[in-house]
């Protein structure tokens, strides 16, 4: 019964986030950025192994941001999606763990403009993380998952630099969880107990700073050409959590290349954006 409730709870959160994700206003200017990259991942999952696994991942990121209304130029709505996947190996290269993670996030930020070309955004992000880890050599403990949802504090610093009149937008973004709920398998619980007998035991935990620390950051440089915007990005995600006498850590470092597109949608594309409209990028 508990297993069913947990599943329903996470599905509900997932659908709420997806619905927030898909909502689009009739009149908006949205900045949407896609990037795809390659990098490294370190995984330490005591349920699966006492060793740190390292490997290569590919990662895709999407982020969109727009003001919450036509007239507002201080509060924005941000939506993010991250998908990463890859194979990792133990130090002796005798076993592998397949890693797949997905994070959905919806956040709101207040925009401060202390000086020209500099913008500081401060706010919160609600996210849902699902990270799956499969160890190929393990028998009754082959699989572990990081499943959690958090309210995060979030900050973004953005600076528009012009070099010989060529604009480059630098941006540093960081989110860190404040409070949430996370799934952690019991210390010695077997796959059979959890997934056949349906006994999760003490697997759902309140996540706070004493048992869950994470730091999801990105540094991007958007090169603004006349007809396109090219994005170079570096993503650094670190997550550490403890519960049920088990310790987990994951770190991703990824370099990505992508593009940014500013959508202008007015009366379902029947007219152009008015000149007075607040540009999300400024």
């Amino acid at each position: 019964m508990l297993k069913l409730r947990v599943r329903l709870g996470f599905f509900l959160l997932f659908f709420i986030l997806c619905s927030l994700f898909s909502q689009e206003q009739k009149n908006t200017i949205t900045s949407g950025g896609w990037s795809l990259g390659v990098g490294g991942v370190n995984i330490y999952d005591e349920y699966l192994s006492p060793l740190v696994y390292t490997g290569t991942i590919i990662r895709g990121d999407y982020e969109s941001m727009r003001f919450i209304s036509l007239t507002n130029k201080n509060i924005s709505l941000q939506r993010t999606l991250m998908v990463s996947s890859g194979f990792t190996n133990n130090p002796a290269q005798t076993n592998s763990i397949f890693y797949l993670s997905v994070r959905l996030g919806v956040g709101m930020h207040y925009h401060f403009r202390p000086v020209t070309n500099l913008k500081i955004m401060v706010g919160g992000v609600w996210d849902l993380l699902f990270a799956s880890k499969y160890s190929f050599n393990n028998g009754n403990n082959p699989y572990s998952a990081d499943i959690s949802t958090h309210l995060n504090a979030s900050g973004i610093a953005q600076y528009l630099l012009k070099i010989n009149k060529f604009p480059i937008m630098f941006r540093y973004s960081v989110t860190t969880p404040v409070v949430g709920v996370m799934f952690v398998p019991e210390y010695g619980a077997s796959y059979y107990e959890m997934f056949t007998l349906g006994k999760l035991g003490n697997a759902i935990h309140l996540a706070s700073i004493n048992n869950n620390i994470a730091w999801n950051s990105s540094l991007t440089a958007d090169f603004i050409f006349k007809k396109m915007i090219l994005r170079l990005a570096y993503y650094h995600d670190y997550q550490k959590n403890n519960a049920n006498s088990l310790h987990f850590e994951t770190m991703q470092n990824v370099f990505s290349l992508g593009t940014v597109i500013n959508f202008s949608v007015f009366d379902r594309n029947t007219r152009k954006a008015p000149a007075s409209f607040n540009d999300i990028n400024l």
Binding site: N90, N140, Y187, G188, A189, S190, T196, L197
Partner: protein, 320 residues
């Protein structure tokens, strides 16, 4: 990584995760001290000798679910069956007296009607050998007109635990609790969860063809019945129309899990102890309802004493 680091890693993994220290009255600290002395001079060791020392330390646990696996060897403890009579002869089993040459194969099941009798016989020799519900239905339905059925799991050293339940569901019309299991909740030797009930739900409540719930069913066992097979015997022993005949099963009541050393060697250990309905540990096997060994005289005549005992039992208990 040096031998000392790997040794300490192995000792610690077992210390924090192995589930039978208290039940088996094992002093793991003392064992660690004894074997630690053997690696005091690393210059006298190589990977093979170090592996042997680690394997011997693990064998102090007397547990068939404990193994150390390197790229050149796997340590193992097999005394749970090597020190006992075989009670199994495949030549006799596949002779014309029993299974014959015309037996059918469905999934992992070899089955037939024993010649000149009305007794069905199924041999299932490996719980890693998969089967579908249809395989099982056909095998049981084919033997549906028999007076009784013999399920022979001798020399079956285990495999997938859920297969044991899948087979057993065909022989009950009521949901039952057949045992319990616990798991470690922390690194202490006695840090265990509350017992979790293992329940068996019937495959069907009214199907005549697929549900043997009244006719006599006999499960044949020997000391080589281990792990998932041991669990299967534990389940079947709870059912009213089932008799266990043969030797005590080999045990292996601790659900195994895996870990690894810094040098990449994999270690398997018993992690979750399983119990019968009286909360008695099944690590050392299940006693049969009728204890019988294969006699050398019978073997010489091509007769399987255990099968013959099962046939007699079915004839005595058949429903008229």
């Amino acid at each position: 990584m040096d031998y000392k680091t790997n040794f300490e890693s192995l000792w610690k993994i077992m210390d924090e995760h192995y589930c039978y220290f208290t039940y088996k009255n094992i002093n793991w600290d003392s064992i660690g001290n004894v074997y630690r002395l053997k690696i005091q001079r690393p210059d006298t060791l190589n990977d093979v000798t170090f592996f042997r020392i680690c394997g011997n330390m693990l064998n102090e646990l007397k547990d068939g679910h404990v193994n150390l696996a390197s790229s050149f060897d796997v340590s193992r403890y097999w005394k749970w069956y090597l020190d006992y009579p075989d009670n199994f002869n495949s030549t006799i089993l596949y002779s014309d007296r029993y299974l014959g040459k015309s037996y059918r194969i469905a999934g992992g099941f070899n089955y037939n009607v024993i010649p000149k009798t009305a007794i069905g016989y199924i041999y299932y020799g490996d719980f890693s050998s998969g089967f579908s519900g249809a395989n099982l239905s056909y095998a049981i339905a084919t033997l549906g007109n028999c007076d009784g059925i013999i399920i022979d799991v001798r020399n079956n050293s285990g495999g997938v635990l859920t297969y044991a339940e899948d087979i057993a569901t065909r022989f009950t019309s009521q949901s039952i609790t057949y045992g319990y299991m616990r798991h470690k909740t922390g690194p202490g030797h006695d840090d265990f969860s509350a017992p979790i009930a293992q329940n068996l739900t019937p495959y069907s409540e009214n199907s005549i063809l697929t549900n043997w719930v009244k006719k006599p069913v006999v499960v044949l066992t020997n000391r080589s019945c281990y792990s998932a097979t041991n669990d299967f015997v534990c389940i079947m022993k709870q059912l009213p129309n089932v008799a266990i005949i043969g030797d005590q099963s080999g045990g292996g009541g601790g659900l195994p899990m895996n870990s690894e050393l810094p040098n990449g060697w994999m270690v398997r250990y018993s992690a979750c102890p399983m119990y019968d309905t009286n909360m008695d540990n099944i690590e050392f096997g299940i006693t049969p309802d009728i204890k019988v060994d294969m006699s050398s005289t019978d073997i010489a005549k091509g007769i399987d004493t255990i099968i013959e005992t099962a046939m007699t039992y079915i004839k005595q208990h058949k429903i008229n």
